[in-house]
Every structure is written in structure tokens, then in C-alpha cells.
Symmetry: none
DNA sequence: TATGAATGAGACTTCATTCAT
DNA sequence: AATGAATGAAGTCTCATTCAT
């Protein structure tokens, strides 16, 4: 799954004029490290080994460059969490999804996109809204669809599958994401992540397992 | 006369020096609306109807002013979520706490503090860490303590009470907090919040109710 | 001679309203340490343990305060280098004067006045001019008068006594003042000062001793 | 092509990048007129007919710009006082050097560098120390070396050649430099400078001429 | 297309000075 | 007389953006 992430990036890289690619790569790093305001176009140019002027050949302004990166992030996200074959059993699917999800969030610099977007959601509501829709909501919907299929088959007994999907995703973050994103703890260990996802799955099924 | 002086000082600090209050109120608004970087000291001065220079009479710099606001936020937080009497039964306590918690997060401008701090946690890790410790972790710990008491009494069967506390809090946010904080939805209705908290409580107890 | 300096200060202190004294003392220290621009009225107020407002009760503005200090400095200077009794023999007189002079310049913080005034002479020519007239030129004239007396008595053979006076004073600074004032060396030792003044005297008399 | 690039760079630095020259020239004027603190970057930008931002393209900060000017000053100084051929006779050499030296110090705006550096030596000791070393001390050493050569040849009888060098230089300033630098007198006339240097030379040789 | 020199608006901060008490 | 809270002008420096090459 982590490989999937890398592949996605690689694929995107191959198409695209190489300068544009360079810029996006440099910019992502700088934006995610420093935040939207903290990142300067100069720093980005340096990270991309491109002149400052070139930045403006490919992107109208700082904001457009930033959104282009979120776009990519959205694609990546979409590709990763995509294993919702209704045929697979719930426990396995949830655990696997949970793992992928929490890995995505807690990978080094992984909270960065969420954090960075959140930071400017107030000043640029469109950016926030779009990111939520394309990334977070989309994932919820996919999981919800999967759950609905299993509700239909009598496998699960869920009233509000959208809520349930969101609940599962929140459960996977328990004790992991917040400390990580607030820099109050280093990235969690594999074992810890597994334990949390297992606990989330157990809890979820305890509540929603159809009889 | 010396006492007079001291009294004056005391009064001034008691009524929070009025000017200081003005500044804090203006600054909170601007910071929460625009984020740390987006807020300018000039804007803050205007919002507080105070001269720019006065800002620096009361606070050493922009960062100190920001932290003073987080401090207040932390106090507020601490006062709200305070009803963990071990004698109360779990369902009631959890529901009540869940309500208070989600109200706090989703009140108009309520995600702002979390969002704003999250945004600068990368560049100012201390601020992030401190906020997490004083606000989020503290709440988790209180809930965890409550849970431990009920585990001891055989009321609940929980292995890792810290994890469980975190899980409950995450569950309460399901489908509510993220859309709200990303500006993808308005503040949720009372009914919706109640429904989500009820669902969270049901799920939690389904998993952890002692037999 | 050094005692004379201290006495002068003490005398000045006794007259003068004590607040004014406090201010002058605090301001002198701050001005001399930090220069005219480097010194802030706030710092001066703190050094004088007086409120900022009080500064303006006694002095119209920063500049007036500064000039008041130079005034004092001028008085002090005048009092110290005052042992030009025409009856004393040249060698002794010159050596004693040279010692006093170089001690004054190289005492800890002693170049400070000259340095500080020099610094603003371009922007505030009056201040520079006045300081030169009251302090430096006055001393030269006194020494010149002394020399003239000895020329009259045939003791010395000097064409231009003003130039000669200036020459002797410059000679006393040789290798001492510049390194000190540029912070390229610590204050010179007593021995070194004595040696330099002796050398200056010898040189001076070699050139100007009447036959 | 790479060579072309390098050539361009070389050319740019050779012609001192014209913009950089503009800045240095404007800055020198402003710094020397107003002192380090009195000079504002805005004023300098105006004097150089350059935008404020451009200043920071070429120099890291105000201090770096100032030091760049001192650097130039040092170079100039070094080039002027350069005729210490040990073969030349002492009287001629000293007179010529004295003339060059006093001209340098008393040229319009010539005391400015010394004055300005002196002014900030207390707050920025490194700047003072470096300037002293590169400009003043260097000159002293060259003169001292010259004197040593003549001591070796029996031409002069000097104990401490470093002191002697310093003494000669101080003598040349007598009655000229201080009034000039304190704005108490206009730049001295040619005749006056010649007279003072002649007197200095006579005095020096009277004291140190070997028998 | 790609550059990088140049800009000017605006950010944070300091400080001399004023004024009500 | 003495205070200290308050001010606003001005200073240093950064940065998104433009433009000639």
C-alpha cells in the first residue's frame, strides 16, 4: 500500500513537463514542511532548483501552486484507499483499510497536508471545502458504500452507514493522530498502529455485526 | 501608601487591566479568523481598538500574545469538561461529556483554536506540544481516570483505558468535526450532535460494557 | 588626580535636586555605554530608577539630556587638568598633565564621551562644536598658556605654542588611545601609560627645550 | 555555454554589478553623513536610487552593507600610504607620508569613516577591532617597519619603533584632526597641513635622529 | 521557455514623546 | 512633581510578483 503511494507519485511524474514536475515536488516539500504562509516562493524555487520566475510560468500564483499540490495529494489518497471489494469479508477489509489509512496520516510529514489545508481553511474556505470533498469525504463515501453492501447482505446491521464509516475512521486515529500532528509524540510504531486498528475493528464489529 | 500601590496593582490585574482584555479579545478574533501567520499585528491593533505600540506594552511579541490566547482557551476547556464524578453511571456521564465536548469543538469559531495551533505545530513545536498537553491530553486523562474507576468496580471491561478514552472522544467527532473544521458544512444541529453522541456511547458500551 | 574626578562628581551631586541627579547619573551610564542612538529613554529611566515621564519633567528631550551630560563632562574635564602653575618646571608639569590626560581618556568608559560626541558631530554639528570648544580646545589653550609663560622666561623655545600644546597632547595618546577606543585592546596598564607619557615629554623637550 | 555563464558572472562582478556600486556609493554618503544609526535603509535606498528591496539583494543586512563600505575604505587607505621604500631618506619619507596621511584624514568627509566606526565600536566591537586592524594598525606597522630599517642602518636611534610610528602619526594630526572631526573648523588649508607635518617631522627627528 | 534582477507593499517591532492622574 | 499607560511614526527586513533579456 505504501508502494502504491510511491507508484502513484511516479506515474504522475512521468507525464507532465519535467519542469512542472520539479516545481511540484519542490513545492510539496516546502509547503508541507513550512505551511502555506511559512513557505516562500524563493524557498520553493530553491527546493525545485528552478528560478523564481519559472514558478510563474507554470502557476499563476502561490495559491494556484498550492492547490495543484493538493490536487495531487487528492489523487494519491484516492488511489491508496481503494480496496473496497464488497466480496471481501468485513473484518479483513476494515483492518486493511484502517492500516492504510493510519499509515497515510501518520507517515513522516503525513499530517502535513491535512494540517496545512486546515490552517488556511478559514481564510480560503474554498480550498478547505474542496480538499475535504475530494479527499476526506470521498473516502468516507467509499467505505460507506462498502458497508451498505454488507448491510444489504445482512452481514452488518447499520442504520447510518455514513456515520459508521466516519466512526471507523475516527476510531483508527484514536491515540495516534492527535499527538502526532501536534508534535507531542513521534510517529507511532507499527505495533501500536496495528493494535489500535485491531481495537477499532473489534469495537466497530461489536456494535454493528449483524446477528 | 505601599499597600495602596499594591492594591492598585492587584485591582489592575484582577480586572485584567481592561486594555489587556481588549487586546486579548481583539487578538483572539483575528488569530482565529486568519490564523497565526494571516493575522497581522496591525489588524489585531485595529480589532482591539488599540495602538500597535500598546500591543507590545502588554505582550512581548506576536507569539506571546498568541500563547496568551491559547492559555485562556485551555482554561475554558478545563472548566467545561469537568463532570467526571466516578459515582455517576457510565452512560449518563459519557453522553453528557460527549455533548459538552462536541459543543466545545463545534461552537462557532470553536475549531479555530485547534486548527490554528495545528497549523503552526510544525514550525513552533513547543506551542503545539504545550497545547496538546494542556488541553487535549488533559481531557483524555480525566476521562481515562473515570473509566479506570468503573473498570475497578467491574462496571466496564477495558484493557487500555487511555486508548478507550481517546476512542470515545474520536467517536464523538465522527461526521461532525472534520466537515465543520474544513468549512465544508455549517455548525451541526443540536439534534445531529445528540444523535452522534448517543451512537458513540452505544458503540462504546457495546464494546466495553463489563459482563 | 583620579580622586579629583570623583570629588568633582560628588560635589555636583550634592547640589542639584536629587531626582535630576539620579537622571543624570543613569543617563550618563547608558549614553556612554550605548551611544546616543543606542540609548533609549526607557533604558535611561530604568538606569535612573525613575519613570519615563519624569525624564521629561527635567529635560526637554533626549538631546537636552545628552547635552546636560556633556556639560558635566566638560566641567569635570576642566577641573582635572588644571595644574598649570607657571612656576612649576616644564618636565614635571608635562608629565603630570600627560598622566592625568591619558588616564582621563583611557579610564574604563573614558573614551566614551569623545566617541559618543564624535558620533553625532555630523548630525548635530553644534553639539560637536560646543564639546570641542569647552573640553578639548580649552585644555589646549591652558597648556598653550603655560607654554607661553615658559617661552617668555626663555625656558622653552616654541614658535607656535597652540600647535605645541596640541602636539604634546597627541603624543600622549600615541599607541594608547586609538586601540583602546576601537576596542582593539583593553585599557592600557599604568606602566605603559607612564612610559608613553615619559617618551612624549622627552620628545617634546628635545624639540622645544630652550637653550 | 557553461563558460559563457561563468564569463557573465565574472563580468558582472568585475564591473561591480553597477547596481552594487550604486548602492555602495549611496550608502557611503548616507552612512558618513548620518552615522550608522542615523542612516536608515530607506534613506540609503533613496540616495542610491534603488528600491529598498534591492539593498537586501546585494547585502544581507544593514551591518553587512556598512562593513562593505569599510572594506572599500580600508583598500583605499592601503593604496594611498604606500611609499615606504627603505632606501629613501627619513625626512623626505616622513614628510611625504605625513602629507598623504593628513590629507586622507582631513579630506572632505574623510574623518567620517573613523568617526562612524568609532561611534559603534562599543556596541559592535568586532567592527571596531577589524577596522583598527585593517586600517590604522596596518599603517602603523608599515611605518614602524620603515623605521626599523633605518634604525638598523644607524640612521635613526629608536627604542620602540611601534610607539615611534604611532607618535609620528599622532603628531601629524596635531591641531588639525580634532577640530576638523568635531566640526569645529573647516578642512585645514594646504599651507597649514604642510606646516604641521614639517613641524612633526622636525620634532620627530630631533628626538630620534641617530648620532 | 527560463531566468534572476528589481520592486514596493507590508510585516514585526522599537522608541521618543504626551497626557491624565 | 511624578508616574506609567498609551501612542504613532519610523526602522529593519521579507516576499510575492513583474519584466527585460
Amino acid at each position: 500500500m505504501v508502494e502504491a503511494v510511491r507508484d502513484t507519485v511516479a506515474i504522475v511524474s512521468e507525464e507532465d513537463s519535467s519542469k512542472r514536475r520539479q516545481i511540484l515536488d519542490g513545492a510539496r516539500k516546502v509547503f508541507m514542511d513550512l505551511g502555506f504562509d511559512g513557505a516562500s516562493m524563493g524557498e520553493i524555487a530553491r527546493a525545485a532548483t528552478v528560478s523564481k520566475g519559472t514558478l510563474y510560468v507554470y502557476f499563476a500564483d502561490k495559491c494556484a501552486l498550492f492547490e495543484a499540490i493538493l490536487e495531487e495529494e487528492a489523487l494519491q489518497h484516492g488511489q491508496v484507499v481503494f480496496n473496497f471489494d464488497p466480496a471481501r469479508d468485513a473484518e479483513t477489509t476494515l483492518k486493511e483499510f484502517g492500516q492504510a489509512y493510519i499509515h497515510l496520516l501518520c507517515r513522516p510529514g503525513g499530517g502535513s497536508a491535512i494540517r496545512t489545508v486546515m490552517a488556511i481553511a478559514e481564510r480560503m474556505p474554498d480550498v478547505g471545502r474542496r480538499y475535504y470533498g475530494r479527499v476526506l469525504d470521498k473516502t468516507i463515501n467509499r467505505l460507506a458504500d462498502y458497508l451498505k453492501a454488507h448491510v444489504a447482505s445482512g452481514d452488518l446491521a447499520i442504520d447510518d452507514c455514513d456515520l459508521a464509516a466516519s466512526q471507523f475512521m475516527e476510531l483508527c486515529k484514536a491515540s495516534l493522530f492527535l499527538p502526532f500532528v501536534f508534535q507531542a509524540a513521534p510517529a507511532p510504531s507499527e505495533e501500536r498502529m496495528t493494535a489500535v486498528v485491531d481495537s477499532a475493528t473489534r469495537m466497530f464489529l461489536a456494535a454493528y455485526r449483524g446477528k
